[in-house]
Symmetry: C2
């Protein structure tokens, strides 16, 4: 059975990375797609694990060759999802989770048989606190991110599911439930279609 494709988007500081890491850790059949990006590596990030960090020139070459399922420019940096990575994992029966922004996600809306999950922050204030706690960005950059986050909430309605990350444990339970439920939706339940009870 071919694995499913889950698209997860969330405003920055919503905890999407933590949530998806928990998922990958618990489920051996769930894997996170590793994107290509031209942005600077943060100190805590690992090349080939968090992202594949590449130069602008290489990114454009790959984009021209059609190697990306989707790619987007965010804050002057490019992010792209490797078509090959996703399809290889799915054909091995793994569910692939793409953590991408709404711009990239909406490009896949009509194209893929994907399941779209939007993770919502409990409130803008809470989100500001979280970003400040991360200490990786200036106050200006945080406000820029928050205003962008506000815009992102407008497209949340185009996603299949809404998960509020107020309490991490509760949010994780919901995310996990979505994965399990979708595995049992009739339209994805292919391994059974030729079996008789």
């Amino acid at each position: 059975m071919k694995g499913l494709l889950f698209i997860v988007s969330a405003p920055a500081g919503t905890g999407k990375t933590t949530l998806v890491s928990m998922l990958v850790e618990e489920f051996s059949n769930v894997t996170r797609s590793i994107s290509y990006t031209t942005r600077q590596k943060r100190p805590d990030e690992v090349d080939g694990k968090d992202y594949f960090f590449i130069g602008q020139e290489e990114f454009q070459k790959r984009a021209q060759k059609g190697e990306f399922l989707e790619y987007a420019e965010v804050f002057d940096n490019y992010y792209g999802t490797s078509k090959k990575f996703v399809e290889e994992k799915r054909s091995l029966g793994k569910h692939v989770v793409l953590v991408i922004d709404t711009q990239g996600a909406m490009k896949l809306r009509d194209y893929e048989d994907a399941i779209f999950i939007f993770v919502r922050p409990p409130s803008m204030d809470e989100q500001r606190k979280r970003l400040q706690k991360r200490h990786t960005e200036s106050s200006d950059a945080i406000e820029k991110r928050l205003s962008w986050a506000q815009d992102e909430l407008q497209v949340a309605k185009d996603y299949d599911y809404q998960v509020i990350n107020d309490d991490l444990k509760v949010a994780y339970e919901v995310l996990k439930s979505i994965i399990i439920a979708e595995e049992h939706r009739t339209c994805h339940f292919r391994q059974f279609s030729t079996k008789k009870g």
Copy 2:
């Protein structure tokens, strides 16, 4: 927020009653719809808890008044779902689970914004064993039920979800996940539509 409506069908002996009881026990916001029936009460059943046991005449009177959301005849007995029961619970924010046969379920297919779940037995042999273990029916009645169950599997594809009850614990986990996931589907996520992040 109005509660959701879940329709659960399964061939006899599949464990649907156990599964739904577990759900009602764990979730205070989930309730099982109690059907009206004209069939004989089994020794272990309680009137007003398992079913409302009524006579043929009263059943017909209620049916004529349009009091049933759906009703069906199964093995010369009538089973009906009370419209009032379901709507009252839902308007209190409770999710209502209807455990009904495929015939009744399909009557609600286009009518209601319900979520349809089909519970599948692991195999016909396993199902025969379970029915025999229950000691409530003759061998003839069991074979009649099994042949009916085979027919019911044909309509399984019209349900939104497929849950295989091979291992009760696993099946329950799936059922529970479906309830939680559906609560977070964008189309049901009404309490959020007027809120801003």
